[in-house]
Subunit: 308 residues, 4 copies
């Protein structure tokens, strides 16, 4: 299979649709991004990297970071983590607070905002916010094997200044005793985590362990157990696209996690880790063109986990 | 891989746990079932059948029938079906009506009761209830290659007499014009569909086309397109276990559909179709022992779709 | 105070606004009513009757009937009635089902549809539907001292044929065991009760006992105790206008009950019983012009219960 | 009518029930209050003051302060206030956030926490928090004609430190642009307002204008227009006891506002202003004994607004 040709073909076919969707504007800093960009990269389990389009342009990975932070937190606290966050699709928007009131401050899963905030609280145990952010950054850099990856402070500040909804979620969970640290500290970690800037190439590299039974096939070391890798993939499949998770599974058929920056990381177990990016979002807040590109790729490679 | 030995081992290991969970009692006829039964069957894509325990005892497949009815309806109306039912996990119980009020009578997916009722309405187009039920029965018999499969009329009557919640759902959707036929007719089809009695052997045989790219590998004919088979599997993964779908994906990692009769049908794409049955249900209404058995099987075979 | 002059003045001032609002169209029979009609009648506790506009034209009183049926039911079962229906404003639409799911089939109050259906179930105890309807009709006729009052069968049939939402509510409560009779029987009573046709004159006369400490000051007999009259008034104030009850209290300041036929019955305790009718409804489903007229009347008479 | 004898009788009859209910413990400072206290005071429109029990003991008036702050805000911004807060009962708990998500950040009424926070935001326009608190304190002192009334700083600090739920509500509304000032500033005003300490005597005096057509009958000056006084009373009746407002209207029949400190202020229009206090709360968060005492008083005086 000529993956490079596949990616080039997808970029060419979608050239006329660049700019589709609506760039997220509730985070001021994100609203400034050029909507016509589109990149895609694939890192296979045997270590090959393929890329096309704007695959070398850093973008704000936003909620995709939740996969890495969950991985980090599971390494620290293990399965006890699930006492404080669920594993079910939410059936509501990424920033909904309704479910929290009905379910006593326990978020439905670690990939909606509330759940990711609880994960930050867990990672903070015994650390100062700066230390926790530092550890997270080092973890992602090691996964991507690239020390140039940085956090975009302007984005982090932009969210700190305007992220009222996240302050609401955090304070709400605090009132149910499902946060143990200072709300400002927890959100400090959360906003910085979301502000991680990565390219499609870096992102597809960083997710490779999830396609390769939990081990990094290039570096040759284990990141998580095979079982844990499967479980993280399962969570991405059922909960990775907020209230569009069912549709993404239906159309693409790969575990994936999207971010409002327009990025999506998708995993083809045993095959490859994929990153795609285009800033315009569809109605449920996932990259419009990115979703289309992944559907094309999954269909043409036969990588869907729901086929033979 | 010695599948027969695997099944025998699972049956032996779980012998001491028979009777776990709580038998559904809201349908009087189901409450009478002996809770200590447990059966499992696997039909592989190359046509081999393995079975252990009470795999030849017929049970009420209940909601598992929704997979077959959806398949039948997609064959009739195609993708237009999705104008009247969604494809997202519900985040609520199987018989919740809250979501319907918030989303104007459009059920979240075809595997919750409301969604399955809409599917029955679609299948009724141009038919009388008896004809629609007849067509459905013939379809399942042909999938299972077994003309002895029947509908348990006592169960159907039991549900007709006491299924107030389903009458509520149907009338509610009718008020939003999302049912086109008489409520009694639609529910007549629905209750008879749910009352289908099958053994684990028959059920695993009937699901085989979903494991085999949409074609029946034994009969050698196409049931649905490869794409449609993938999509039905995706729906089972995200929505097949009501508000326990995320957990089932997390622990088992296979597309599956459960019924309150205690049965679960699971699909390992490219590998096999699996049926398991034990009447006791867990907290979210899925077979307690059946779920455990599937987790054991998926783990020991490596069939999880989230691994390599 | 010259009440007749007041009423004439209101009719004259509102002449140019006749036809405001939107006639209820979900009950086919109601959609045919001439929207330009407007009537008002006042019966004082010393037995005087004042009327203006179309006060002698019968209209479908719809939900206003819930006040009379509640009164009848309280007479039969007493305060035990409150075990099956609450006394709180619902904060939702008149036909919402969401609250019922969250609160286990117990309706918030007797003036939303679900609550009124439970009241019908209570009144049915020991009776056939026809007998219960007959008893209700006799009760209202005696309150209004007018044997010519009838039920509009065409309206009742229209609702029986299209009232899917009410069938949903009734079946839903039945599933929670909060209905004891056959759903069709209960709704038969409910639809006939709502189809009562009365004029403003008759309606203001029928409500007089609520303005007069529970006794009929003209007939000179007791209908309910003084305490019960106060409590029914309190319920009308907090729950009588669905999700517009707060606004009605704010603007008019009188206990009242509206119906989708465009009628409103309002009570000025110690002063008078008032009926107003105009078919066009405002956004929350209460008579648009009727509400305005009552605000004018309450303001000019000083009858608001919130003033001195 | 010998009001003093009535109050003495009520205090005597309830002596054996002191301590009923559950003292609010979510605000640490309030949890320390002696639960066996009970006081009642009545100030009539002709200027007489009657008191019994612990009527001279200051307590934290908490949410009762919302009535005074609303009055102050209406004086500043007039009816435009209603663009940012509704006038309907909520049908939910005092601190629910669900409604806010469904209704885009507009609280249902000014007497639930969210609504009162918006009112504080309005009062802050052009002021610093300290100035706004100062103005509020002067306003209440002038209403009560008592300059010794103070804010209990320990209570205010206790709430500032632990009021996560209110921080959640405020940030949530800020995300919908329904707060214009800094969340900390708005809540600073809110927490200080709630921490007002008053005795039953002072409180019944301060509410007198609402019983007397908006004017202070003792001081002889107008506080609000007669119409506005009626409307504030209407809001207290429909929304003054959270999700127990319907029940309070049913049993007591007077406009009233409760606070979690165990106080209730009730208004008998044209008759008197009443304050009662006992720390133990009933299930919906209103003073258990206070409610009983008011029901006795309203019944024995005939002051219910729903009677003649």
């Amino acid at each position: 299979m000529d993956i490079q040709a596949l990616l080039d073909g997808i970029v060419a076919e979608l050239a006329g649709r660049r700019g589709e969707g609506k760039v997220a504007d509730y985070i001021p800093q994100l609203a400034k991004v050029d909507p016509n960009q589109f990149g895609i990269a694939v890192t296979t389990v045997d270590g090959e990297v393929y890329a096309a389009g704007d695959a070398a342009v850093p973008f704000s990975i936003q909620s995709i970071s939740k996969v890495f932070m969950l991985t980090l937190a599971l390494g620290k606290v293990g399965e006890a983590l699930w006492r404080r966050v669920g594993r079910e699709p939410s059936g509501t928007a990424f920033n909904s607070i309704v479910q929290l009131e009905h379910e006593h401050g326990i978020p439905r899963n670690p990939f909606i905002n509330a759940g990711a905030i609880v994960i930050c609280d867990l990672v903070l145990a015994g650390y100062k916010p700066k230390e926790a952010i530092g550890e997270f950054l080092r973890f992602v850099r090691s996964l991507a094997d690239d020390d140039t990856i940085t956090i975009d402070r302007a984005v982090a500040q932009s969210e700190t200044a305007t992220g009222y909804r996240n302050y609401a979620l955090a304070n709400f969970m605090r009132s149910f005793n499902n946060l143990q640290h200072d709300v400002d500290h927890v959100l400090g970690v959360y906003f910085h985590q979301c502000a991680l800037a990565m390219t499609c190439r870096q992102l597809s590299r960083a997710g490779l362990f999830l396609a390769a039974r939990g081990a990094d096939p290039i570096g040759g070391y284990s990141v998580v157990s095979e079982k844990r890798a499967r479980r993280i993939n399962a969570l991405m499949l059922t909960c990775g696209h907020y209230d569009g998770s069912g549709d993404f599974a239906f159309h693409v058929g790969l575990p994936g996690k999207s971010g409002v920056g327009g990025g999506i990381m998708a995993i083809a177990p045993g095959k490859a880790s994929i990153a795609v990016w285009s800033p315009g979002l569809n109605k449920v807040g996932n990259s419009a063109l990115g979703t289309v590109a992944l559907e094309m790729l999954a269909s043409r490679t036969g990588w869907s986990i729901f086929g033979a």
